[in-house]
Symmetry: C2
């Protein structure tokens, strides 16, 4: 109620990036939305708020700090929203701040235990789609996709995988090496060779940084054009993703994403700026996505919207 | 008529690759089909053939040597066919081999002088399509495309260019540097970022290694998927090409090209094989090509077929 009590929170430095980096080391397998929730819980544990209102304002300010990071992305927004939602919806019912804090922490303790199972559940949902002799194209390195492929191999499915190099991170190289180590034939291809191999491919499987409101996917740069090429060749395009990556964003186009738009043509700097200037992600509209394999089931893109409404209206 | 006279020719070593390499140094601006014709003329100048039949058999054997090079490609086939065609069609009318040889060399002297003007004429045909404030996406380094863009700039057109990096050669880097030197704003993008920028682009312009019978284009790997993405975004896709790159090939798909198909999944070699294993070219079917800017005019893909028939039936 008293603006002066709240204002300092907006200027407080919760070191969001440093917290995320530290949590990532401690939980190397956790996804970014989960790490954001963990970081926010850590911050809120130390809150000296003396009212639910103050606690909520505190939480909002901390959440905003994560959403405004220079490295912000769809995953962080998803995590921040997931954290803030129960605080917002429960704030009117409980007056005692200590009781409320306890119930919030208990809720997230339960949720974090659930979240830890999401990736494997999502991977399991995709298993039925991998048939013997399938040739699968994957892009970049996605832990959910790797889990799906490794589980399929453990289930004695025989299939082959093309992996895009995925410049500039070359994360596809890491994926190819791990797949081969798991006894899955994997071949690295140039990012420019997707068109060249698409006719040999039975399906494309990608991960996601975020799944937006219309069921579209925000993912590593290059995903969008692979989806376009797959559709032109009538090949199914699947995304494996945990539900905590569903995010209330509705991008209208490639420039309408939660990233700084690259300053193309801003200057005539030298040719070495390619990596810095290029976006790290792109947006694949739902019309290019056949199905999403998620922990809550195999979804069409339009079902994502329903799930988001269900969750955030509850 | 006497097989024993002819057989040795098939085993002769005309050192086709070494000849091409040397001619390329002497004529750095000449296209590959032109260099192939020059090389074949050099070889045939030394022919000791005593009959038109023998001369033709000699020419056929030498032409085959170029078509069977390990580095063979659509350009070489185009040049070899252009060379052999007048020999085949004229062989029945002339009996004196020395007169005939003279007329053949005179014909090609005239043609080579014409060929030298083809690139500039093709570039000129494209000028009308470049309007002020256009944003143009180009792939790889094409001399015909560079000439078109530089002439447009010299004609005081103001436009901007996105250039794909074009792994593994990174030839796009060379193009970006030259465009900037010509005072044209040029921005290098990742091969995977075509989808990300396509909405900002007004048109795509590429060169060609070869233009096949149905008007499709064989070009640097990545061209095909750019064309697919351009079509999905309703952006025109143009190819600038000299007529001597028209070639009597009719690829059915990406694997039906005059290159060794990469040995995907042949072994589990290490990840460093990416460059060696990936094809250098791909095939863009005519349905993705809006227009071709050629020395004989602005053509639809289907007009290429007519021109090929006209030339090879004459």
């Amino acid at each position: 109620m008293v603006p002066l009590e709240i204002t300092p929170l907006n200027n407080a430095d919760w070191k969001p990036q440093a917290r995320l980096d530290k949590l990532q080391q401690q939980h190397p397998n956790a996804s970014l939305p989960v790490l954001v929730i963990m970081a926010l819980l850590d911050i809120m544990k130390d809150s000296k708020a003396s009212s639910t209102f103050e606690f909520l304002e505190h939480a909002k300010a901390a959440t905003t700090a994560f959403k405004q990071l220079p490295e912000k992305n769809a995953s962080m927004i998803a995590g921040a929203d997931l954290f803030l939602h129960p605080l917002k919806t429960h704030s009117e019912h409980i007056r005692d701040v200590e009781d409320w804090k306890k119930s919030i922490f208990a809720l997230f303790e339960k949720r974090l235990a659930e979240y830890a199972k999401f990736r494997e559940r999502a991977a399991d949902k995709g298993l039925q789609f991998i048939k013997d002799d399938a040739v699968i194209l994957v892009h970049s390195y996605s832990r959910a996709v790797m889990m799906l492929l490794q589980k399929a191999r453990q289930g004695n499915k025989r299939f082959k995988v093309f992996v895009t190099e995925t410049r500039p991170t070359t994360s596809g190289t890491k994926a190819a090496v791990e797949l081969r180590a798991a006894n899955i034939p994997a071949e690295l291809i140039l990012d420019a060779a997707v068109g060249s191999v698409i006719d040999r491919v039975d399906m494309v499987i990608v991960g996601a940084e975020g799944v937006v409101q219309n069921g579209g996917v925000i993912n590593q740069i290059g995903t969008y054009q692979i989806a376009v090429v797959a559709k032109a060749a009538n090949k199914p395009f699947y995304a494996v993703t945990e539900q905590y990556k569903f995010v209330r964003l509705f991008p209208l186009n490639q420039e309408d994403l939660p990233i700084a738009s690259p300053p193309y043509f801003a200057s005539s700097e030298d040719r070495n700026t390619i990596v810095a200037k290029n976006p790290q992600i792109d947006y694949t509209p739902p019309r290019y996505i056949s199905l999403l394999f998620t922990n809550i089931g195999v979804l069409t893109p339009s079902a994502v919207s329903e799930e988001l409404v269900k969750f955030y209206m509850s």
